[in-house]
């Protein structure tokens, strides 16, 4: 059958179980489709892709200014600055081969506009153990409007391959 030409009168509308299944499957497909716009308006976790063009050098400069203005300390081991952005304000995070700077100190329940970009290759912003993941591209200021709902120390892992030191590209976010 499957490898031979079907008889002349092969056309017929689906019937029986086949029609029932197509109906069920279509309904399920439409439910899944409706879930995404529903969550967009009523859910709290969305990836809207808000972003602005930015030259990598210009972004590095903004991160440096932001760090200088809001620095509250320094990690004794790595020397990476610890920065506390104003609640409700802008925060900056730079990915580069192979580090995330600065370490951000945020407050639970406050909302921040977190700008993430790269100085060189593509990187992956992977917040652990929350397991929230976003793509970081050079030339794109990717803005996440982020509200931490839990406290503790969170690790940023790079999960986009960015060369030989990729697995060692680790950053930190502290939430109090």
């Amino acid at each position: 059958m499957t490898i031979h030409s079907p008889p002349k009168d092969w056309f017929k509308w689906p019937h029986g179980h086949e029609r029932l299944w197509i109906g069920l499957a279509l309904v399920w497909c439409l439910i899944m489709f409706a879930m995404m716009p529903y969550w967009h308006f009523n859910g709290k976790q969305n990836s809207t892709g808000e972003s602005y063009a930015v030259e990598p050098d210009a972004f590095v400069e903004r991160v440096e200014q932001f760090t200088a203005a809001n620095k509250v300390g320094e990690d004794p081991a790595s020397g990476i600055p610890i920065v506390e952005p104003p609640p409700g304000g802008d925060a900056y995070l730079l990915g580069r081969m192979w580090s995330w700077t600065p370490t951000l100190k945020l407050r639970q329940g406050e909302t921040y506009r977190l700008h993430i970009s790269s100085a060189d290759l593509q990187h992956g912003f992977s917040l652990q153990p929350m397991n929230m993941n976003f793509q970081v591209l050079p030339g794109y200021d990717h803005v996440l409007t982020l509200t931490p709902t839990t406290t503790g120390e969170f690790t940023i892992v790079c999960n986009e391959f960015c060369g030989i030191g990729h697995h060692a590209m680790i950053g930190k976010i502290i939430v109090e």
């Binding site: 499957a25 899944m32 879930m35 859910g43 709290k44 976790q45 969305n46 652990q128 060369g163 030989i164």
Partner: protein, 567 residues
């Protein structure tokens, strides 16, 4: 059969098993492409073993340089070379034998094959020389040696030449009506795969040609976001070529091994057309947490326009087993809901390869794929091991396993040689399937714990606990088992092709086709079920699938709701 006599001549023969006409020119290129496929499968498989043994933390085999190099090598050899060579073999078979016509042009077939082989060798060489540690995706601004891109472009052009040759063959057959009024379903599926392949390969050209000229230092750097969008028009779409080729092989193997029928030609063909119309939107699956594209674009495209391509897969997921059920019932295996399934030829590697492929693709690959490709849920999955956990269940447990099952018929029918060590061949699909399922589950659970894909070492972060390490161990054990299954397949097939007993002039050895036990006038009860479009056993199976799907889907929404708020 007038059409068969019309095709007789010095460059044709009649198949001793099926009675179908075989064009000897096409047969030659089926063989060439299939043999190349198996060689690249072995190369990619060896790389796979080293990767599994590196991600297994207790073993951690390779150093970081060779891990990333082997990962690039594995991706390119498996996802491009093995699969596409096999698909070329399928096109040359389906375009000629199933349509009872001759190959349009052996010269074009040579040109296509030559381009593909030289491209593949060039790419593999430059990767092994350490000049292209960029992964399969080679995301800009990461840059490889120009020969890496040139090799892939040559390979793609070769594939396009073959596809043109296929279309020309189909056109000639259509004009001369060699196959009758309507094209057989499996050939229709092959045409679908070829159409999608053309669109995929054109995306590849658009993405890679400017990247090549950039790597040569001739042009400016293409935008990295633009590259991602266009590259995935190649990257994801070529996986849909695999899906369509695999579904066609399911229909073929269901018929060859168990006498499976087509319930409704219109439904099965319509589902193939849905693929052509909507599957090219899937590039979005990879950009769901990217900057540069908005929520509306993401939602519409990731759903393939309201999941109409998913609907196509759900339809095939019913029609293939239902066709099998009907075929088996007509043979007299009518007992209860699942008599047809228990009496299916489970010791026939052609059958077990196809049916395990169907189950793994549907229950693991399909459900995870649609869920992870949901716009918001992707936040919890992007670039974690959940992604390879998903696609190893589709491309490996699905497509590769189906192609392996197919091979157990290709070698006796076209190489006209029999497999030795048949008991081992009967075991092979199970070994491979168990290995892949274990590996896929290990990846998926480790990924759910946040472990990244494409990462040499997870301990530098110092945050992954016992569960992650255990799951990576499962990945390693599953991967090793799958490699053993792959190796058995390659060794048995190479042995059969070179030393297998010749079967010229007689039907191939039967792997175990269920005997027809229906009364002489046919089984009336089975015929009645078919008339009324009933496949009760399959209906139960697909309802179980739907229930699993619904539970997994909403469990993921629940997990998402526990995360920090983000817009």
């Amino acid at each position: 059969m007038a059409s068969i006599t019309a095709m007789s001549g010095p460059r044709t023969r009649k198949c001793d098993t099926t009675g179908l006409p075989v064009c000897l020119d096409a047969e030659f290129f089926v063989k060439m492409n299939a043999v190349s496929a198996v060689v690249f499968l072995l190369l990619g498989g060896i790389a796979a073993l080293t990767l599994a043994l590196t991600r297994w933390p207790a073993v951690h085999l390779l150093d970081s340089t060779w891990f990333y190099r082997m990962l690039t090598f594995h991706g390119v050899n498996m996802l491009i070379f093995w699969i596409l060579f096999m698909e070329m073999a399928i096109l040359y078979f389906a375009g000629t034998t199933l349509l009872k016509t001759k190959l349009f042009s052996p010269k074009l077939a040579w040109a296509g094959f030559g381009l593909m082989i030289s491209g593949a060798v060039m790419t593999d060489y430059i990767i092994l020389m350490g000049q292209a540690d960029v992964m399969l995706t080679s995301y800009l601004p990461l840059v490889a040696h120009p020969l890496f891109y040139l090799g892939i472009i040559l390979f793609a052009v070769g594939a396009l030449v073959n596809i043109f040759n296929f279309f020309a063959t189909v056109y000639v057959a259509w004009k001369n009506k060699t196959y009758g009024e309507t094209m057989p379903l499996v050939a229709f599926g092959a045409v679908t795969a070829a159409i999608i392949a053309v669109v995929a390969l054109l995306h590849g050209a658009v993405a890679l040609v400017p990247t090549l000229t950039f790597a040569m230092g001739w042009t400016a750097e293409p935008d990295p976001m633009w590259y991602r969008l266009i590259w995935w028009g190649l990257g994801h779409q070529s996986q849909q070529v695999n899906v369509v080729a695999m579904v066609s092989v399911w229909y073929l193997m269901s018929h060859l091994t168990s006498g499976g029928v087509v319930l409704n030609e219109f439904v099965s063909r319509g589902a193939f057309v849905l693929y052509i119309l909507f599957i090219n939107l899937a590039s979005a699956h990879h950009l769901l947490v990217d900057p540069g594209v908005g929520a509306t674009w993401k939602i519409w495209n990731t759903s393939y326009a309201m999941y109409l391509a998913v609907l196509a897969s759900l339809i095939h997921g019913f029609t293939v087993p239902a066709g099998l059920e009907a075929g088996m019932r007509l043979k007299g295996y009518t007992k209860g809901l699942f008599g047809w399934l228990w009496n299916a030829p489970w010791k026939n590697p052609g059958f077990s390869g196809f049916f395990l492929s169907l189950v793994i693709f549907g229950f693991i690959g399909g459900i995870t794929g649609v869920t992870l490709g949901t716009q918001q849920i992707n936040i919890t999955a992007h670039n974690t091991l959940r992604i390879p956990g998903h696609f190893h269940a589709t491309v490996v447990g699905g497509t590769s396993l189906a192609f392996m099952g197919l091979t157990y018929y290709v070698v006796p029918l076209l190489f006209r040689r029999e497999y030795s060590f048949k008991w081992l061949a009967r075991l092979q699909p199970y070994v491979f399937a168990v290995g892949i399922v274990l590996m896929s589950l290990g990846m998926s659970f480790a990924g759910s714990a946040g472990v990244a894909r494409r990462t040499w070492d997870i301990d530098a972060a110092g945050i992954y606990g016992a569960t992650s390490h255990l799951m990576l161990g499962v990945l390693g054990i599953g991967g090793t088992l799958a490699f053993i299954g792959l190796l058995i397949y390659v060794l048995l097939t190479v042995h059969a092709v070179l030393f297998g007993q010749k079967n010229h002039g007689r039907a191939m050895d039967d792997w175990g086709t269920p005997k027809d036990i229906a009364p002489a006038e046919g089984d009336t009860e089975a015929r009645e079920l078919l008339e009324h479009g009933k496949a009760p056993g399959t209906m139960v199976l697909v309802l179980v699938l739907l229930a699993c799907f619904v539970v997994y889907y909403f469990a993921n929404w629940k997990a998402l709701a526990d995360l920090w708020h983000v817009r």
